[in-house]
């Protein structure tokens, strides 16, 4: 042990000999996590045997996917994709109409009454977690099979999420243009029209476009419960193990997602 180490120990004793608690803690956390993992795996019956069998059939499925095949009806698949897109646009449009007033109500800057904006916030937080498919499942039995149930499901799922983003956009507004207009004698409405709206419009539009992208992905699964779109075609073909057609649809769908994302990101880049 030389002098450098001795003086280092004097300056920072903990760096050379960490206290027992700090040395043990990472191991304790790791062991606790492993215990939880093993316990849950046993509970869920995730045994290596089940896993091995599943992976074997998965390998068979993937083998069957090559080469992809259109199943003789490529136009029906394209039409289902168009329907998926139409559902995404309609759902987003309806969500946007309802999210705007809710977003305004939830914004601290607009609604001075703490009770109202707190209540609106909480209710939206509660509903934010419910996935579109859970809405779709019940809406199908309420409004009937078909894309309309899917449109409503998308709208229901998006309204609280979009409203929250809208409210945050309002709260992050630059207040100075508003103050300037008020100082120059403009009324409240004029101040909102010429200072708040020009700031908000691009942000809100870009948030809505982002949700359109998300909805095109979400809409693709709603068909599983009969709510229209490509999901129905996909589920049907998985159930009959026609994996070459599944691969064809998934590839086509991925291309569409890519195109939509690209267009939307181009528009959003121009907006902001």
């Amino acid at each position: 042990m030389n002098a450098t180490v001795a003086s280092a120990r004097l300056i920072a004793p903990e760096a050379l000999e960490p206290p027992v608690g700090r040395k043990v803690r990472p191991y304790a956390v790791a062991i606790a996590l492993i215990v939880v993992l093993v316990w849950f795996c046993i509970d869920l019956e995730m045994t290596p045997a089940v896993f091995g069998k599943g992976l074997a059939s998965l390998r068979r499925f993937i083998g069957a996917m090559i080469p992809p095949h259109d199943g003789g009806q490529p136009w029906r698949i394209v039409l289902a994709l168009v329907e998926t897109f139409a559902m995404a646009v309609s759902g987003t449009a309806i969500a946007a109409v309802f999210a705007a007033p809710l977003g305004v109500l939830a914004a601290k800057a607009v609604v001075r009454n703490a009770v109202i904006h707190f209540a609106v916030r909480r209710v939206m937080d509660l509903f934010r977690g419910i996935p579109a498919l859970v809405w779709a499942l019940i809406l199908v039995s309420a409004v009937g099979l078909g894309p309309f149930a899917g449109v409503l499901a998308l709208a229901f799922a998006d309204i609280p999420r979009l409203a929250k983003l809208h409210a945050e956009a309002i709260e992050n507004l630059d207040q100075r243009p508003l103050e300037a207009l008020r100082a120059a004698g403009a009324g409240r409405l004029a101040a909102i029209r010429f200072a708040a709206v020009p700031q908000l419009a691009p942000i809100w539009s870009s948030q809505i476009l982002y949700y359109l992208e998300q909805n095109f992905r979400n809409a693709a699964i709603l068909g599983i419960v009969g709510a229209g779109g490509i999901g129905f075609a996909l589920e049907e073909r998985i159930r009959i193990f026609a994996f070459d057609q599944v691969a064809y649809i998934v590839l086509l769908y991925c291309v569409c997602v890519g195109i939509l994302d690209w267009i939307s990101s181009r528009i959003r880049a121009r907006l902001t």
Partner: protein, 299 residues
Amino acid sequence: MNPPEPLSVAVADFEALRRDSIRKHRLQSIVGVAIVSIIVFASMSYSDVFSPALGGDPMQRIATFLDRLAPDIDPDAAFAGRATRGSIAAWYYDFPNWLAAAWQTIQMAVVGTMLGGLLAVGAAFFAAQNVMRIGLVRFLVRRVMDALRTIPDLILAIIFSAAFGLGAVAGVVTIIVVTLGSLAKLFSEAIESVDMRPAEALKASGAGWIAQMRYGVVPQVLPNFASYLLLRLEINISVAAALGIVGAGGIGVELQRAITYTEFDTYLALLLMIVAMITLIDMASEELRHRLIGKESMA
């Protein structure tokens, strides 16, 4: 030389320019609004929003639906036993089983997040530019992750429940794959933003690649990884709640059963349980994340 004339000419020029630009701007707005309206209207009519086949008035149908969703709670008998009609206990008539299903959903989400996160850490090191020098490996890993992210989770769930059999295992595998796809991207971005000097110092003093990563990179990214993982856990809870609808275990199975027997009030009861479950996990995860961030800023 007459000074006012050029000035008025300049003003006129400016006015003309301004009028032009306003006109152009208005035209652009009108065309934009028209295009968006046409797309929205076409989409709505294509997806049966105005269809008379649905009983014409969609609002009316939604009202009926909400009415059927609401449980028959009799205020006088609300706290009576399960046998009494109109009590809360009768509404939640199978509560222990539903609680077990909710617990299974949480277990699926936790196991899926942990295993998926572990795989994502591995994948992230192969996808990050500053630690993986071989471009081809990086490209392949990234494209595979992109593909995993694009395929909708429930489509994966159907394929996995065909492969692994109906039940929680298929759900866990789905969550593992979804988590891997989304976290690998975030993790590799975190790795790319680290300060490489500690790793270089280790390299200079003779440490191997694994030691460089373990002592030079991992300590920097660990708090980030942990907080991404917790955020993903929150999302995975709601993913897991939906998985049961396609038979992949958890509370979704009960949702599907309630629909099969047209027990709409049961559906609402389950929905409320899902909301409570998600809220609880969100709160716990937020608390943990604040502690992690707090520790990081103290260090």
